[in-house]
């Protein structure tokens, strides 16, 4: 209903739209109240134990249990970050990570905890490192790090008295990996640039010179072989993938198919509910696949090994990982429980008679997806930590 003779003021409408949008964009670019990272000296000393509790509450969702990764945030273990830099990231946020998740003492506590697990300072809580034994006066650990064991983290029980080096010795000779400055007890090298450090290495040595090491960490052939199948490649597995890679892949496949199952319920597609229910069973127990839904075609979207493995058959991924050490063994229980629950509910969904009757089993499976990811991240961390060798006097 145009009013008598008044011109339509399009310029006002469009102009205001443009001016206001530009103004908001401009302010957002200027970001006038961006918190500056607190100066190092201003970070109060943190209580790492309290920090751990806080970390579980707000950070682990993205950075994984124990900062092991697995969520949308990067792994924080072995990154060598110190408390002031962590506090800076907490205050300012970074990328997808929101700013200001904690402030004040809480932020300091979390920073102390993260610095501990990252190896950048502070002592990690006593629970870490299943293979670490309270060593005699002189000792320490060598932990191989990174998805392909190309990094190294050396922690000494007592600081190096003078400048020390870290070497890898093998049939092909001795190669220097890192230096430890005097009075320092920790060195972290993300990638030593030599490829996987479990190939062609007999032992790691630490000390003033390569010829007269103060401490050595022998890497036996069995241990090296175990680490190679775990991290680099396992001829027994489909495509020769490493146990960790293959298992990660199967967890991802299961989470995908959980989504498909929930979608099938939303679309009221009975055949697909049954089909994806069958997939849960076969992803969990591997081959031979069962024809749970009775469509005459036993199908398994996984690689046939099974997260749990066929009962009484070859070991599935969980058993392989649990065998890597006490820490992984402990985490394997929770993971097994979740996968078994999913498989049981999957068996129910696979033979369901009506769409409505599937509500309970679909809900059970849908609810377990997050738990599956969390328990998997913990199991993976446990297995990663198993790449730790004790440093002892030669």
């Amino acid at each position: 209903m145009p009013e008598e003779g008044r011109p339509r003021r399009w310029w006002l409408l469009i102009g205001l739209f443009a001016v206001v949008s530009l103004a908001v964009y401009g302010i957002a670019r200027l970001q006038p109240f961006e918190p500056s990272a607190p100066p190092a000296a201003a970070v109060p000393a943190g209580d790492a134990a309290n920090g751990e509790t806080l970390f579980v509450a707000k950070c682990a969702g993205c950075h994984g249990q124990g900062g092991a990764g697995g969520g949308i945030g990067p792994a924080l273990v072995d990154t060598g970050l110190d408390a002031p830099s962590v506090a800076g990231v907490i205050a300012a946020g970074r990328g997808a990570m929101p700013a200001g998740l904690f402030t004040g003492q809480d932020a300091a506590d979390v920073a102390a905890y993260v610095a501990g697990i990252s190896g950048g300072g502070a002592t990690p809580p006593a629970t870490t490192g299943g293979a670490t034994t309270p060593a005699p006066a002189a000792g320490g650990t060598v932990q191989l790090t990174g998805d392909r064991l190309t990094g190294i983290r050396v922690r000494l029980d007592q600081p190096a008295p003078v400048s020390w080096g870290v070497w890898a010795e093998g049939p092909a000779g001795t190669r220097r990996l890192a230096s430890i400055p005097p009075a320092s007890a920790l060195v972290v090298v993300d990638d030593a640039g030599l490829g996987p450090l479990v190939q062609g290495v007999d032992r790691f040595t630490v000390g003033p010179t390569a010829d007269a090491p103060a401490l050595t960490a022998p890497l036996g052939a069995d241990e090296a072989g175990r680490l190679r199948t775990l991290f680099i490649g396992d001829p027994d597995l489909p495509d020769g993938a490493s146990t960790l890679d293959a298992a990660s892949g199967q967890v991802a496949v299961m989470r995908d198919h959980i989504r498909f199952l929930v979608l099938a319920r939303q679309e009221r597609n009975l055949a697909n509910i049954r089909f994806h229910g069958e997939h849960m069973v076969n992803l969990a127990y591997g081959n031979p696949p069962e024809d749970v839904d009775g469509n005459g075609d036993p199908s398994n979207p996984g690689d046939g090994v099974g997260l749990l493995g066929p009962e009484g058959g070859r070991p599935g991924y969980t058993a392989r990982l649990a065998a890597t050490g006490p820490e992984a063994a402990r985490e394997a229980d929770a993971f097994t429980l979740v996968v078994a629950e999913i498989a049981t509910a999957g068996r129910e969904c696979g033979a369901i008679a009506t769409v409505e009757a599937s509500d309970a089993c679909v809900a059970t499976i849908g609810d377990r997806s997050g738990e599956l990811r969390r328990t998997w991240a913990a199991l993976r961390t446990g297995a990663l930590r198993s790449a730790t060798i004790a440093l002892e006097a030669p």
Binding site: F17, V24, F33, G100
Partner: protein, 161 residues
């Protein structure tokens, strides 16, 4: 004569205020935005009723519906203010990943669309499609912003106050 404003203090006072109620400033923001979206749904329903739709569903006299529309709109705007303050002045325009980029771009336009809609309802002589298009865009923008922030926060980070 501009006084020196210690900007970190503004950011931390804002965080302190939010944290007196919520577990973190971000959690507070997620809930404020959620209230705004709920009010925006009320906006869409009442707007539809004012344009002669849904009269079977909303059995209220038109003046009441208009009053609800106006007040839910004002309230929704009010609830977006702390959110926009935090997003625009403290966090700023970011493009780290697709979610963040979409959020930043759509967020830049939201108040612009709002301003245009205000012009459209004050000036009575625009074609009749202008108001529904402006209002619809405002609603769509808000929903996109909510999905790329609060919904993501509730599902990926932490569902709780």
């Amino acid at each position: 004569m501009s006084a020196y404003v210690p900007t970190a203090d503004i950011a931390s006072s804002y965080a302190d205020a939010m944290e007196s109620v919520f577990s973190s400033a971000v959690a507070g923001k997620a809930w404020f935005a959620t209230v705004a979206v709920v009010l925006a749904v009320v906006q869409i329903l009442t707007a539809a009723r004012m344009w002669g739709k849904l009269s079977g569903l909303i059995r209220l006299p038109t003046p009441t519906v208009q009053r609800i529309h106006r007040w839910s709109g004002r309230l929704a705007l009010l609830f977006t203010l702390p959110v926009v303050f935090h997003c625009v002045t403290i966090l700023g325009f970011q493009s780290g990943d697709t979610r963040v980029l979409v959020h930043s771009v759509v967020g830049s336009f939201l108040y612009g669309i709002f301003a245009a809609k205000m012009v459209a309802i004050r000036e009575h002589n625009f074609p009749s499609w202008v108001i529904p298009v402006a209002g619809g865009s405002l609603f769509a923008g808000l929903v996109v912003l909510w999905v790329t922030s609060s919904y993501w926060y509730f599902t990926e980070v932490n569902f709780g106050i």
